[in-house]
């Protein structure tokens, strides 16, 4: 992945990791002084790709894995307590199974009109027109 600054692309380290190693990798980053920047979800027909971005000064690192289906993702709120909004959003909008979020809206963070509107996974979407009346 590259970041753009006026034509000068800056490479960022993107690592594809296993879900099981997520907490360990994130703790190591926190211990090294990194801060959380964002958690991003992208859905295709078959996958929901999660990208966890962390920043230190101008540097950025990204951990990436597929969380579609029954994959159970541990919450990183014990390490970065401010991550709860991102995780609630991912669960409500994409249907990612994130476990034990410290502040939990139980599927109602935005209270949206559609079920998992950001997910494009064909099998699990109940109907093509989610909730727009």
């Amino acid at each position: 992945m590259r970041e753009q600054i006026d034509g000068k692309a800056i490479e960022t380290i993107v690592e594809t990791i296993e879900v099981a190693s997520l907490l360990g990798r994130v703790s190591a980053l926190r211990a090294a002084g990194w801060r959380i920047v964002q958690i991003l979800g992208i859905s295709t027909d078959a996958t929901i790709e999660l990208s966890y971005s962390f920043g230190l000064g101008h540097e950025m690192r990204v951990f990436r894995f597929n969380a579609a289906g029954e994959v159970s993702v541990p919450s990183i709120t014990p390490i970065f307590p401010g991550a709860y909004l991102y995780e609630n959003e991912l669960r409500d909008l994409f249907g990612v199974q994130i476990q034990c979020i410290s502040v939990d809206w139980l599927g109602k963070v935005y209270d949206v009109a559609a079920d998992r509107p950001f997910s494009r996974i064909k099998v699990t979407l109940p109907s093509s027109e989610g909730g727009r009346p």
Binding site: E3, G7, V37, Q38, I42, G82, Y110, P117
Partner: protein, 373 residues
């Protein structure tokens, strides 16, 4: 009939936590911000933010529009930082194409960014004054702000939604004479702003409500992921403008840092940034290069992904786009500053008294429309 009443024991409620709602329709904020405050007596012990009143799901519109047309949606993520949202989207798409924007366009983008920062911080100063019960300062600040908005309208074409960012540059090219005239008009605003800000920070009743209130510690601000004035008021020197996007690499400026971490520190950071932004505007106009203001961006975006970070009035914002090689991009994501600041805002509320909640909320300068998208 009355038996149950006669036999009911009247128990004085044991002291314990009480939950009260704050918002969504609250006079202090023009936007629906809603918290459930958990109180012990007058002291706030817990806060649960309730969002969703403004959620539109605009990120999903990305595959319904051609990529050059999505700028209109991106600008309307939030009316206060409209130009920067449009520009952030454009820069991320330019990243996909590896387009190099002409120099004059970079300078004009910097000009409008700083104009927007002045406008936004003045808006904040007015609302904060109003929340403190300082109504004539609110009115005076907004009168000064109108002159800045007039400059935006004259140079960019819009008062709140600037509408001048396009993929490949900017759509308007105000001539140097217009820019110099606008700067001259803004000298008065600059003097007036300094005077008003001085009134605000010297006033004992204001200091009483801001000094030592809503303190966010140095470590908490960082770990909770705070950005912008919120992070800098707690002593971190982190301003994304130092990444030298647009023309910031060629123009002298310095990030504003305070160390106290309380409401006053956040107010001071913004007040000093207004002054700084006026200085940057002067330098931008003085060094503005001549030349074209846009390059054509044609064809299909190449497959790939790209992201951009900018410093908005409220802090670091991150734009991400991914293309699958068609005119409609696959994914657009914006992580806005208030979204990142909410956990830190909750931390700042804890331990304060109920009466301070509205003023602390305002020193964070929340933008709910950004947050919920």
């Amino acid at each position: 009939m009355s038996a149950s009443i006669e036999h009911a024991a009247v128990v004085r409620r044991a002291p314990g936590p009480t939950t009260i709602p704050f918002g969504p329709q609250h006079p202090v904020l023009p936007e629906p911000l809603h918290f459930d405050l958990v109180l012990e007596d007058e002291k706030v012990v817990g806060v649960v933010p309730q969002v969703g009143y403004i959620h539109r799901g605009l990120e999903l519109l990305i595959d319904k529009r051609d990529f050059p047309d999505y700028v209109h949606v991106a600008e309307r993520i939030c009316g206060i930082c409209s130009f920067m949202h449009g520009m952030g989207y454009c820069e991320s798409v330019e990243g996909l194409f590896a387009t190099i924007v002409p120099d004059r366009a970079r300078w004009l983008r910097t000009f409008w960014c700083e104009l927007e920062r002045v406008q936004s911080h003045l808006l904040w100063l007015g609302l904060a004054a109003d929340a403190l019960g300082f109504e004539n300062l609110f009115m005076a600040t907004w009168r000064a702000r109108e002159l800045v908005v007039d400059v935006a309208e004259e140079t960019a074409g819009g008062r709140v939604i600037f509408g001048s960012a396009i993929v490949g540059g900017v759509s308007r090219d105000p001539d140097d004479e217009t820019l110099k005239r606008c700067l001259a008009a803004m000298r008065d605003v600059r003097a007036e702003t300094l005077r008003l800000a001085d009134v605000m920070i010297r006033e004992p009743t204001v200091r009483h409500r801001l000094d030592g209130v809503g303190t966010l510690s140095h470590d908490d601000a960082y770990i909770l992921g705070a950005v912008g004035p919120m992070l800098r008021a707690s002593g971190h020197d982190y301003d994304v403008r130092s990444r030298n996007y647009a023309a910031y690499g060629e123009i002298e400026w310095k990030s504003v840092v305070e160390t106290a971490g309380d409401s006053m520190a956040r107010a001071l950071v913004r007040i000093r940034e207004i002054e700084q932004s006026f200085a940057i505007l002067d330098r931008v106009v003085a060094t503005m290069p001549a030349g074209p203001v846009s390059v054509p961006v044609r064809g299909m975006p190449p497959k790939g992904e790209s992201w951009v970070r900018l410093e908005q009035p409220r802090g670091e914002v991150l734009y991400y786009v991914r293309s699958n090689g068609t005119r409609q991009l696959e994914r657009f994501r914006v992580r806005t500053p208030t979204f990142a600041n909410i956990p830190a805002m909750v931390a700042a509320f804890k331990g304060s008294s109920l009466a301070d909640v509205p003023t602390i909320a305002l020193t964070i300068d929340p933008c709910i429309s950004c947050t919920e998208r």
